[in-house]
Symmetry: C2
Subunit: 210 residues, 2 copies
């Protein structure tokens, strides 16, 4: 799907002159933003361009997204949502490896890594962007990760006393650490080690059979 489609909503076949449902307009906008971001990154993202591509007015955009950061975050979340969906095969090790590898690929092989790094970077001194980042992206991602980890805990695959939110920092947080301070690279071996270390522990005993 080209992101340069120029069909204004009003002339779409069969709709006449009525307003489109807001949900549909929002979805179109988010899709346009996601496409633009993953193709080009954040620098070229403007309200004007998104309005044109999605076939909405800038007024509509400003109503729903108070800043470029909020628009980018919302679009980015939806753009990667399927790619970063948490598999549930019942095997928490395999599922974590699978999802973390997909995450590492988004960060290293698409503009996704640069986009997040810039947004996180700006958030350090922009309180509104920081709040939008947490509301529209990171808290949602934490919730989704936590849900998968909780299911594993309920199934007895993780210790009953584990706080799954700490695991989020030791898995995805570890990847973000290398994204933001790249002394060491984000690689497949790194992801494999993250999961193995955490599930099996790293003391002098052998690995668990999970």
């Amino acid at each position: 799907m080209t992101h340069e489609a120029k069909t204004p909503a009003a002339v779409r076949e069969g709709r006449g002159r009525g307003r489109r449902p807001a949900d549909e307009v929002r979805a179109d906008v988010l899709r346009a933003v996601g496409d633009l971001l993953l193709a080009e990154g954040i620098a070229e993202l403007t309200f004007e361009r998104v309005a044109r591509v999605a076939g909405v007015s800038k007024t509509t955009l400003y109503k729903w997204w108070p800043s470029k950061g909020a628009l980018a975050l919302d679009g980015y979340f939806h753009a990667v949502e399927q790619t970063l969906a948490f598999p549930d095969t019942g095997d928490i090790r395999a599922d974590l490896l699978s999802q973390l590898r997909a995450f590492a690929r988004v960060l290293t092989e698409t503009p996704g890594g640069r986009i997040l790094a810039e947004l996180i970077g700006q958030s350090q001194t922009d309180q509104e962007l920081a709040a939008a980042y947490r509301a529209l992206y990171s808290s949602q991602r934490r919730r989704l990760a936590g849900e998968r980890l909780e299911r594993a805990r309920e199934a007895g695959q993780l210790r009953a006393d584990v706080d799954v939110q700490v695991l989020v920092d030791q898995l995805w947080g570890a990847v973000y650490h290398r994204l933001l301070i790249p002394d060491e690279p984000v690689t497949d071996d790194f992801v494999t080690a993250l999961v193995g270390n955490l599930l099996d522990g790293v003391t002098g005993r052998g690995p668990a059979t999970c």
Copy 2:
């Protein structure tokens, strides 16, 4: 020691008119920078102020530190070096808990957390600052952590096949993750969980006896 001492180097008793050794001047500058940073944070740090407090010329400062970021990073590294020193009691669990708690305190109870967050944030779009951050701070901290972890591995306390640099991301990296994206707080319980999870593993088996 007050950081507003105004004794120029040239009139210190017994030194006459000769130049002070460069090492000593550098140490004075780094100490002045560290004191200023930990008292006030990074916003008020200027070459002019540091020059005045340390009793050196701005020319000297610019020769050694090409940017405010480099000066801040070098000063900050030295300011926290002792506080963040890695204990070696022979008990890797106790030593990691001790050092990570000291780290968490620096981040949450001193301006250190804000300083690092701002520098990391700016690094995302400032390549020179990013390079300085890695050269003067993060790669040094990684090296020091790696050395302590390697000793534990050589002593058989960590599995022989563990890549200690991955442990850095799963321990200190996890703390940085909460510093930079604060959906969840950096607390003592968090630190305890980080170390326990990694040493013992989190699968449905009981903890290791390390």
